[in-house]
Amino acid sequence: MSLLSVRDLTVKFAMRDETVTALNGISFDLAKGERLGIVGESGAGKSITGFALMNLISRPGFVDRGEILFHDEDVVKMSDARLRELRGDKMAMIFQDPMVTLNPVLTIGQQMLETLMAHRKLSREEARQIAIVKLREVYIPSPEERLNQYPHELSGGMRQRIIIAIALLLDPELIIADEPTTALDVTIQADIMELLLELCQSNKVGLILITHDLGVVSQMTERTLVMYAGRIIEAGRTREIINDPQHPYTQGLINALPQQTLPGQKLRQIPGNMPSLTNIPPGCPFNPRCEYATDLCRTTLPEIIQYGEVRVACHEVERLHAEGARQEQDA
């Protein structure tokens, strides 16, 4: 049985004189303890997906249709009280920028204890002990002292560790991490990612990792969704997607990385820009930037279909595959 099952999730934003579809018919499943990456560029809808899973979309955005089944219970239809029980307890979230995630006027201890005491009947002392244990788990030195400190006294990496500790406080079944290391330095990013991976594996916690960095996805996750303009365009096992991407956009994204080209040579760029949500072209949203686009692509939206090991939303996937195979033979 899957832990999380998302069906046809559609999120819209009410703008000046129209409603804009930010998330369009997203469907995916997550098994217990599974790690899933959601990749895409800014504006693809990956962060909105993360917030929608916890029903945290606020005005002017709203969930238009679809369901998010967490243990067969629809998060979209939950009462506020039931949502509060779930958030921070069975489902925890790690935000993007640790410098602004913690409340500047409350101590680390206050912010950890309030989370515990909102969900469990615990005395302050019991809660404190749990907080200290969790801070140790994320390798925070002298955790007792940290509890009395304010966020501004700690570095960004330290704060993100504390946020991970807060996420783990109530032994959640699912952690949603929205670009957890984008605001951090490379060496710190590597430490945090390793820590997150280790904790998810040892505690059998499901992870949804939202990122723009294919390298991170490759190291951290078992399965990957690639998003473009509010839709999933490719989904499957991470290895398959990295090694043998099927959708022209995924291919372009991987090929555009400097590692994929010899130094000094021209990078294989994807032309153009991601369409803005108010102005998504008809047919396949990627068609104006796609070198394989046909008339069909310009008029009809491709359904996401099973192709080999992955699911992919592209009319021309067979032709592409054949060409790819031919090129490989040539080479």
């Binding site: 000046r16 032309p271 153009g272 820009n273």
Partner: protein
């Protein structure tokens, strides 16, 4: 080499750009703003055209008959039909006096704000752009001056001036004293807002880019930073006009502003206050209502502007 083939659409004309802009759109969608602007324009027009509209000239002693004093407005028993809103304690036609008074209040308000804006923008730009000791000195001064409040500074200044010059001389130049004191006393509001915006803008890379291109500080301040600091200046200018009108009225009410012979709305209210207990409420209440409506529509426009432009105003 690039494949962005999206051809530019027809260049829209300047006028249609204005009409379709965010600001015009939100204006049309906001009935409060539309009504406020209409009322403001009506009041301003009436004030400017006061000499044409007003049936009497309140400054002309020949047209005033003390025997006509304290007639009620036309809809109350005992009114004289030629005085639509009744008369004041000196027998002046209240409608004409209010028109002239509004004219004075609005003029003092706008001129004082123009003076504030000139001082505040210059000081704010220089303090923000040059920074360092000059900046901290100017801002300390602004903080201290602000904590004493405009009204307090104005009251003390005008009280001393009046005592020094005697009321006759003071009354003759009251308009200029008021403009000067309200204009000078409020410079910190502007200076701090402008400085905060300048500091925020100075950090942006287009200023660095201009410096790397070798432009001088004058050009960078006026051509690059100032145009990007306009939204907060617009917003506070509106609010400041409203505040200046209130300040003028308050000072005149205390007898430190416009004299009763040349009344602004504030001095009119003040002179009527003594008659409120004898039942002649209109001398106070009608100019009071006009004053409130004038200030209210300006504040409503300021509110709307703040919502649309959404500038980060300097706090504290």
């Amino acid at each position: 080499m690039n494949t962005e083939t999206v051809s530019p659409t027809m260049e829209p004309s300047r006028w249609s750009k204005i009409v379709n802009s965010n600001m015009a759109y939100s204006f049309r969608r906001n009935p409060v703003a539309v009504v406020s602007l209409i009322i403001f324009v009506l009041i301003a027009a009436a004030a400017i055209l006061a000499p044409v509209i007003a049936p009497y000239d309140p400054y002309d002693p020949m047209q005033i008959n003390i025997m006509n004093s304290e007639y009620p407005p036309a809809w109350i028993d005992g009114a004289l039909p030629e005085f639509m809103l009744g008369t004041d304690d000196q027998g002046r036609d209240l409608w004409s006096t209010i028109l002239y008074g509004t004219r004075l209040s609005l003029m003092i308000g706008i001129c004082a704000v123009a003076l504030q804006a000139f001082l505040g923008i210059s000081i704010g730009l220089i303090a923000g752009y040059i920074g360092g000791r000059l900046d901290s000195l100017l801002m300390r001064m602004a903080d201290i001056q602000l904590s004493f409040s405009t009204l307090m500074v104005a009251i003390i200044f005008l009280a001393v001036t009046q005592a020094m010059f005697g009321s006759e001389l003071f009354n003759r130049y009251a308009v200029f004293f008021l403009i000067a004191v309200i204009g000078v006393a409020e410079w910190p509001q502007y200076a701090r807002t402008v400085r905060a915006t300048v500091l925020a803008e100075k950090k942006k890379e287009y200023v660095d880019s201009a410096r790397v291109l070798g432009f001088g500080p004058g050009r960078i301040m006026v051509r690059h930073i100032l145009p990007n600091s306009l939204s907060p200046i617009f917003v506070i200018s509106t609010v400041q006009v409203a505040n200046a009108i209130i300040s003028e009225a308050s000072l005149s009410f205390l007898g430190l502003g416009m004299p009763p012979s040349q009344p602004s709305l504030g001095s009119l209210i003040s002179s009527g206050f003594d008659y409120i207990f004898s039942g002649s409420w209109w001398i106070t209440v009608i100019p009071g209502v006009v004053l409130v409506i004038l200030v209210l529509v300006i504040n409503l426009l300021g509110d709307w502007m703040r919502d649309v432009l959404n500038p980060k105003l300097y706090k504290g």
